[in-house]
Amino acid sequence: MTGLLLALVLFLLVFAAAQIIRIYELSVKASNRDEYVVTNKDNSNQGRLMLVFGIALLVSFVVMAIAWNPLALPKPSSLHGVEIDRLWDVSMGLIVVTFFIVQPILFWFAYKYRGKEGQKASYVEHNNNLEFVWTIIPAIVLAGLIVYGMTTWSNIWNPELDEEPIVIEIYGKQFGWTARYAGSDNTLGNANVRLIEGVNVIGVDTLDPASHDDIVTSELHLPVDKPIKFVFRAQDVIHSAYMPHFRAQMNCVPGAQTSFQFTPTITTEEIRTDPDVIKKVERINKIRLASGKEFYEYDYLLLCNKVCGSAHYNMQMSLIVETEAEYTNWLSEQKTVKESI
């Protein structure tokens, strides 16, 4: 019955639409105008709309920036992160300025030069000086950005360190993370997925003496102000270890080892007292309270950022930055490979 009614309604709708179209067609015929010809009125209407849209675009940009910029990640909690954010600010600044120059000109021209009957356009083919200028200016600006970007990139990869970084392995599999600390020798023992057996879930080679003091954990603790060298492995598919608060990310590739190095500079305790973070947490808890979810406390996170299967959206590991004393204490409570396997 519902189907029949639905069909009837659909039929009536189509019928009504057809009638409206016929009336429209007759009216067009009666007025004897060619519907597709762009009239003076069209040009002036559309030109105005262009101007209105251009203004609205810029205004909405400003509104969005004011409303949503605070939602961005808080200040970086790593040494190189500060450099990245500085480069970001410079690049973003240039982009926004260019956006605010080029878009208004585009929409202004569209409005200003809207067609009028009897008006003729100027015959301008090209202008070498002008073209030279707008080739050379972007070239200079980009040259600056390229040099700045490359320097930053190279600093990230070759940081000046006065101490040996702590080596930690991050191991990704569907759908969770495991960490392995290199232990007192700061050397990770060999490992391969072929050696996975029983409790040896990440395939550590127990015959390799370097592996004996390794420590496998499901939580990531980092000492503040110490350089950390992460090496990454994956068990099944590509994962990506994304630590947004530290501006750090590296893919974990099955059959290969990748690495990334950074120095955390702010402990979890400290970042929770940052005014921006406090505000953020307040906003979030207001939302969570309304929907009856548990209270949220700010935490660093490691999350997967390369699609890896159905539960990709929930592949995370908590990451705690603490003082060296707390870190050493926590680490000493963990079992070494020799003790656990």
């Binding site: 559309q46 030069y113 015959y123 090209h126 202008n127 080739t135 972007p138 590509i238 939302i287």
Partner: protein, 594 residues
């Protein structure tokens, strides 16, 4: 040589006129009909692709709501209206595949290269009508296979449109890597074959079949764009084919091109020595030129539409050609910017940052030239012109954020976040789709001999333009908050809770914008049958296609093909009565210019 071919085609044309339904509409070798076949197929795929995006946007805005409608559409993939994570990934994957390849490569370049190359260079047809027909039918077959893959038991491919192995190579890793993935690869293989046949044909036609007087520097910019696009396709698509074949071998024959040391779903695999990063290199060696395979035709169309409707020559013709060539060349040496964080040698990261940021220079030249073409023009706001201006706006807005993402140091933190999604949808998706709409509105009379409705075109443009920015502008901000793409739900991370409002706004614009496309579809099909009959040259344009009769004839021109005496951009030229001077108009005595 060229002349001889022309004569042959003429005689061929004269005693070959018996057409039935099959030879005219289905197995047509006429470039105009093939162009229309590409368009209709592309539009169908576009409807599917956009519809999918509306479904997964529903999930993103209201992750825990149940929508009964989802169950009636997705069946077992949405029990009680709650979308399954696997089908979410499948929808995202197929949306990307369909939009990038089927709509914006075949639908855009296939349609307009076929329609316009012979018409604008003054040729009776493509160099090989038969290859042209094959190119369409390979595309049609690949579309059928892709659509079929939606209905297999384990679901369609779901590893993202880039289908990185090992995820895409191992059926144990996710349901979508089963039969659906095999069909995806079969479909892409057919697609590439079709694309290569088409591209070779375009190149040969443009080089050999130009009419008298049509030197390369008198080609409309559309043709330049199609020409360079075809070259890009010929050089890069075979690499994707090899990537796809090797992946097929890994999946079906137990080879280890991309696989090594893997334990998946508790099973240890024998594979050793392969590297998934090899796949990424091969994929992006096509993948990046592909961006320009999509974009250049749209820019070419825009050049034509903006010049015609500003009633002015395109500003800096030679610079426009030069920037097309520069962009095309650079597009081959920037693929690594998709791979900054794959563990690739950091030195390579620097190199790719350098080459990538260089692309901004020719892109800036193009944007400035478009804007200067408007300057002191007499702008006629046809729907095509509105979409072209929209393209310039999105090209600038999206291109600028490329400066961030092309910078390896900055990419670390926004890689694979919504910032990237915003960037490429605006610069590539919106720009290209706007170019495609501009092309359809502009050349509809050439395709269907009738005019599209102007008022509906206006309405369509404004609704689309507003919702397009409404969808993709806010995504920058969720990206800045660190939200990864391809997450089925953000609810597992309290830190993203405050982004939910933005997600709702985006989804509303997406649904609104999607529905607005019905206006276009209605206008298109309505005008096809009932629109007013088109005059010969409705936009008072200079290019050769407007000298052909309104009725389609095999061979395009009755009698001799017109010769060309000037470049295509003599709009509002002093010394001429009208504000346009068709290319076939002989030069006045001592007339300056091209």
């Amino acid at each position: 040589m060229a002349k001889k071919i022309v004569e042959e085609v003429v005689s061929h044309d004269e005693h070959h006129h018996v057409e039935n339904f099959w030879t005219k509409y289905i197995f047509s070798m006429d470039h105009k009909m093939i162009g229309k076949q590409f368009l209709i197929t592309g539009m169908f795929m576009g409807v599917v692709g956009v519809f999918m995006s509306m479904l997964f946007r529903l999930q993103l805005a209201w992750p825990n709501e149940k929508f009964v409608i989802l169950e009636s559409i997705l069946g077992k993939w949405a029990p009680e209206g709650q979308m399954d994570p696997n089908i979410y990934l499948a929808l995202v994957t197929i949306h990307g595949t369909i939009m990038v390849f089927f709509v914006l490569t075949a639908g855009l370049s296939g349609t307009f290269s076929n329609l316009l190359i012979p018409l604008q260079i003054g040729a009776r047809d493509m160099a090989s009508g038969f290859l042209n027909m094959l190119s369409y039918w390979f595309f049609a077959a690949s579309s059928v296979v892709m659509i079929t893959s939606l209905f297999v038991e384990t679901g369609p491919a779901s590893g993202g449109w880039t289908v990185y192995p090992p995820l895409s190579a191992l059926p144990q890793a996710m349901p979508g890597s089963g039969a659906g993935m095999t069909l995806w690869l079969v479909s892409m293989t057919l697609f590439i074959a079709g694309s290569l046949l088409g591209s070779l044909n375009y190149i040969v036609t443009i080089i050999n079949l130009r009419t008298r007087g049509m030197s390369m520097v008198r080609l409309p910019l559309t043709i330049w764009a199609f020409f360079v696009t075809a070259i890009l396709g010929v050089l890069s698509f075979p690499v994707l084919l090899s990537a796809a074949l090797l992946l097929m071998f890994d999946r079906l024959l137990g080879t280890s091109f991309y696989l090594s040391d893997i334990m998946v779903a508790g099973e240890l695999l024998h594979n050793e020595g392969g590297s998934p990063v090899l796949y990424e290199h091969l994929f992006w060696f096509l993948g990046h030129p592909e961006v320009y395979i999509i974009l250049l035709p749209a820019l070419g169309i825009t050049s034509e539409v903006i010049a015609t409707n500003s009633r002015k020559p395109i500003f800096g013709y030679r610079a426009m050609v030069g920037s097309i060539l520069a962009i095309a060349f650079l597009s081959f040496i920037v693929w690594g910017h998709h791979m900054f964080i794959t563990g690739m040698n950091p030195f390579l990261g620097s190199v790719f940052t350098f080459t990538t940021l260089l692309i901004a220079i020719p892109s800036a030249v193009k944007a400035f030239n478009y804007i200067t073409t408007l300057w002191k023009g007499n702008i006629q706001f046809t729907p095509a012109m509105l979409f072209s201006i929209g393209l310039v706006s999105t090209f600038v807005a999206g291109g600028l954020t490329g400066i961030i993402l092309g910078d390896s140091a900055l990419d670390i933190n926004v890689h694979d976040t919504y910032f990237v999604v915003a960037h490429f949808h605006i610069v590539m998706g919106l720009s290209a789709i706007f170019g495609m709409f501009a092309g359809v509105y502009h050349w509809f009379p050439k395709m269907y001999r009738r005019m599209m409705n102007k008022s509906m075109g206006y309405l369509h443009f404004w609704l689309t333009f507003v919702s397009a920015y409404g969808v993709f502008f806010p995504m920058h901000f969720t990206g800045l908050a660190g939200l990864p793409r391809r997450y089925y739900s953000n609810a597992e991370f309290p830190m993203f809770d405050e982004l939910q409002d933005i997600n709702v706004i985006i989804t509303m614009f997406a649904i609104f914008g999607g529905i607005a496309q019905l206006i276009f579809l209605f206008n298109f099909f309505y005008s096809m049958w009932r629109g007013p009959v088109a005059p010969k040259n409705p936009w008072r344009s200079n290019t050769l296609e407007w000298t052909t009769p309104v009725e389609h004839i095999h061979g395009n021109w009755k009698g001799e093909i017109p010769a060309v005496h000037r470049w295509p951009y003599d709009y509002s030229k002093p010394g001429h009565e009208e504000d346009f001077v068709p290319q076939s108009t002989p030069r006045l005595k001592d007339e300056p210019g091209h």
